[in-house]
């Protein structure tokens, strides 16, 4: 375990240098959140029907998703990409640690650290001025905490899988882009999942992306009651295992390719 914690620690210190970027990121998220809240507000005011999620919940959903924006698996790990592109992977192979988990840690650091740095101030502002709700009870707090942690891991596993996919240059690139598009739509970043049309909701249920943001956020809001949390957390864990297994298998194939191609 030690070496992996070291990787995390080192990445953390690197990321801490980008405080100015973190501040700018927070402002960006705030601005976007405002736009989105105003648009949802406009739609809710235009209709008197009862909707599957209330405006107050949507507003909180928006602020949570803006705060957790960094968790979205929306890019590959840049250093891994360069390493794979330049063929420097071989030097990584010389280290006496498991390659998959060391890469997983890099991906985790890339998503975890900026999220931690950016979400705090945004959540504070949203609580104080922008009508971000608190969870309905202690059970929801616990469930959401567990689900956010799990979401972080699922997101990292997706990022790791995509990064590893870059062993196949063009198709890897395409897969990444497709996954990013899907991540936006099916994680709840663009629209809360309950507001999607039926067909898209069904699609969302079949994909891992909603376990990154949507499920943790709805557990927080109590929109998914805490009593249902075990089921969702189990599904999240299952996805994590599937993604890790996929990542490991793709990695070994990728390395096989490398050996065949390389001199």
């Amino acid at each position: 375990m030690r070496p992996y914690l070291c990787i995390l620690g080192a990445r953390f210190r690197v990321q801490l240098q980008y405080r100015a970027a973190a501040l700018a990121g927070t402002l960006t998220q705030l601005f976007w959140g405002l736009i989105r809240v105003m648009i949802f507000d406009g739609f809710y005011r235009s209709s008197t029907a009862v909707h599957p999620i209330s405006l107050a919940q949507v507003v909180s959903y928006v602020w949570l998703s803006q705060a957790a924006f960094g968790m979205l698996p929306d890019r590959v790990e840049p250093e891994l990409r360069d390493m794979i592109r330049t063929g420097n992977v071989t030097s990584e192979l010389l280290r006496p640690i498991d390659l998959y988990w060391s890469w997983f840690c890099r991906c985790l650091a890339m998503t975890l650290i900026p999220t931690l740095m950016r979400s705090g101030p945004l959540l504070a502002v949203a609580f104080a001025f922008l009508e971000l709700q608190t969870p309905p009870g202690a059970a929801s707090v616990l469930a959401a905490a567990a689900a956010f942690a799990g979401g972080m891991l699922v997101s990292s596993a997706i990022t790791a899988l995509l990064s590893i996919g870059l062993f196949w240059t063009v198709s890897g690139d395409g897969l990444t882009r497709l996954s990013v598009a899907a991540a936006y739509l099916f994680s709840g970043m663009v629209l809360p999942i309950p507001l999607l049309p039926e067909a898209l909701q069904k699609a969302a249920a079949l994909l891992p992306y909603r376990y990154v943001l949507d499920v943790p956020m709805r557990l927080y809001l109590g929109h998914i009651p805490a009593s249902e949390a075990p089921m969702h957390l189990a599904a999240q864990l299952a996805w994590l295992l599937v993604l890790v297994a996929a990542g490991r298998s793709v990695l070994s194939r990728g390395l096989g390719r490398l050996v065949v191609q390389g001199g």
């Binding site: 105003m38 648009i39 690139d173 663009v190």
Partner: protein, 267 residues
């Protein structure tokens, strides 16, 4: 002027040929750009499906706004992308190279890169725009068509102006320029929906500071026969697109200041 245009076209041709060296990934990027921007429209469509209308606006009307702003933005991204990567150019000294050539710096920077992959968003925006234009009960007279074209081009000028301003900031600070990016991309998101939806201070920002309303919302009002906006006379909707080129001109003025500063500080 014609001379400058010829040179820009040369740059464009060269840039396109460079990108065709990587045909496969270029096509992939374009497709991805199409899908990503289509997701935005997908969300818009889903919201209308559920809520029916937005403050008295129909889906087709909002689609007109959406199509116009996305086509504008895609054009600006395609043609003025050189400014987007300008920060790197200042940091690695590439800008010095442009300064020792006997041409305007803005022209050379703009010509650095013409991004083919932007056709993805362009196609998606145009598709929505044409769909909306067909669905809407609007008589497309020559005047209306001209206004729509002017609004789209003017919008492209406005976004190009924002790219120029963002690049100009690189003369003053090397730290992140995400803030301007926020206004640019946030502006696209904002303009996809009617301005009525937003709070007054927000509307004012995108009308008077960054005159996005003038190139999108106001001409759309004129096209839809909706009359003046926020108490302004209706004829203003027809002349508002002039603000796009004006904004670009102002941005280029600030750019010149930035270049002068660069030349006196060397950083």
């Amino acid at each position: 002027m014609r001379d400058a245009l010829t040179l820009y076209l040369r740059y464009a041709a060269i840039s396109i040929r460079s990108q065709l060296e990587y045909r496969a990934s270029c096509a992939m990027f374009a497709a991805a750009s199409f899908v990503i921007s289509a997701i935005d429209f997908c969300a818009l469509w889903a919201l209308f499906r559920r809520f029916g209308s937005l403050q008295g606006w129909k889906l087709q009307e909002v689609a007109l706004l959406y199509g116009m702003v996305n086509v504008s933005f895609a054009l600006a991204e395609g043609f003025a992308r050189g400014f987007d990567s300008f920060e790197t150019m200042v940091r690695n000294g590439g800008f010095d190279r442009l300064l020792v050539r006997p041409r305007s710096t803005a022209l050379q920077v703009a010509g650095q890169e013409l991004q083919l992959m932007r056709v993805g968003r362009l196609a998606q925006g145009a598709l929505v725009l044409f769909w909306a234009a067909g669905e809407l009960d609007v008589h497309w007279s020559v005047a209306r068509l001209a206004l729509a074209a002017a609004a789209v081009v003017s919008g492209a000028c406005l976004f190009a102006g924002l790219f120029v301003l963002q690049a100009t900031l690189a003369f003053w600070t090397t730290s992140t320029l995400e803030i301007v990016n926020t206004v640019t991309y946030g502006g696209v998101e904002t303009a996809q929906y009617p301005l009525d939806v937003y709070r007054p201070w927000f509307r004012a920002f995108f009308t008077f500071v960054v005159p996005l309303a003038c190139v999108n919302y106001m001409p759309a009002h004129a096209l839809l026969g909706r009359g003046g906006v926020f108490g302004a006379p209706a004829w203003l909707n027809w002349v508002a697109p002039a603000m796009g080129p004006a904004f670009l001109a102002a941005a280029l003025g600030v750019w010149q200041m930035g270049v002068r500063r660069y030349c006196s500080t060397g950083s």
